[in-house]
Symmetry: C2
Subunit: 146 residues, 2 copies
DNA sequence: CCTTGAAGCTATAGTTGCTAGAGACATTAG
DNA sequence: CTAATGTCTCTAGCAACTATAGCTTCAAGG
């Protein structure tokens, strides 16, 4: 049995994050020692590793909640899990596309900056005037996931 | 002079967002009409367009605050603005790299899912066991901007 | 056995960048 | 003139944590 600190170290998750996951019901309430400290066994370790890995892959906690409840029913169809993963893939692809466009525009901005004074700064200028953007494209919705 | 609604429409920014920008000091306090409604002139329009454009390019509000205060002093060196833009570019590039890796992994997960039952689901399996990832790479820090 | 320092506990509040709601007043179209 | 928007302020909520305060428990050294 591991204490919360050891578990966090093992899984690469910070201690308050583990407590947070318990609080929102993503992890079950941990067993407690005589002195009221949380103790974790193999199952909790595996569940946390699952969560961590899915977070690394960009799944939201909501999606992870769904995936976890699916993995608790191994006899059912895999379609739902597949759908969640596909949605996540689509999301990642769309973010990639947006970021790629942003990168191009930022690069142009930075390259054109001759290092003079603010008055001639391309960076400020481009930001001030959208029409100075390379093409007449409208900007992507936003680079930050909604 | 525009009302807040017209301004928002013109700039592609929602009304509460404009009020929020004013509240956090990104926009100056607006003039008011006799009936206490906000009124905006050319300068406010330009400033909001600047903010909107910078947000579209992924700059944080903090970075935008800096860029705005730079653009208010047109005689100074452009180096600071350049540095902010370069930092943003680096951030975007790193996110791109991470997302590209995620995409590859998600694609593998999805492709390998044969559509059987959860017990054989690659999606769940890969999430459960990091060692099933294609290579022995450690995952990127996180795909979500910190 | 006792002390000290690290690690754990709870609870609350802060972060970023908004968004949504309530309830009241202002403006405008018909 | 009335009804429908639009705007006002204020507060609370979202994701996914992170940080703080003030306490208790635990493990190791003297």
């Amino acid at each position: 049995m591991l204490t919360i600190g050891k578990l966090g170290e093992a899984a690469g998750v910070k201690v308050p994050t583990i407590r947070y996951y318990e609080q929102i019901g993503l992890l079950p309430e941990a067993e407690r020692s005589a002195g009221n400290q949380r103790l974790y066994g193999r199952k909790a370790r595996e569940r946390l590793a699952f969560i961590r890995h899915a977070r690394d892959l960009g799944f939201t906690l909501e999606a992870i909640r769904d995936l976890l409840s699916l993995s608790d029913r191994p006899d059912q169809s895999c379609a739902a899990a597949d759908a969640i993963a596909k949605a996540q893939l689509a999301e990642v692809e769309s973010r990639l596309a947006r970021l790629t466009a942003l990168k191009a525009e930022l690069e142009r901005m930075v390259v054109q900056c001759a290092g003079g004074s603010i008055a001639d700064c391309r960076v400020i200028e481009v930001l001030s005037d959208h029409s100075l953007c390379a093409t007449d494209h409208r900007h992507p919705e936003s680079e930050v996931p909604s």
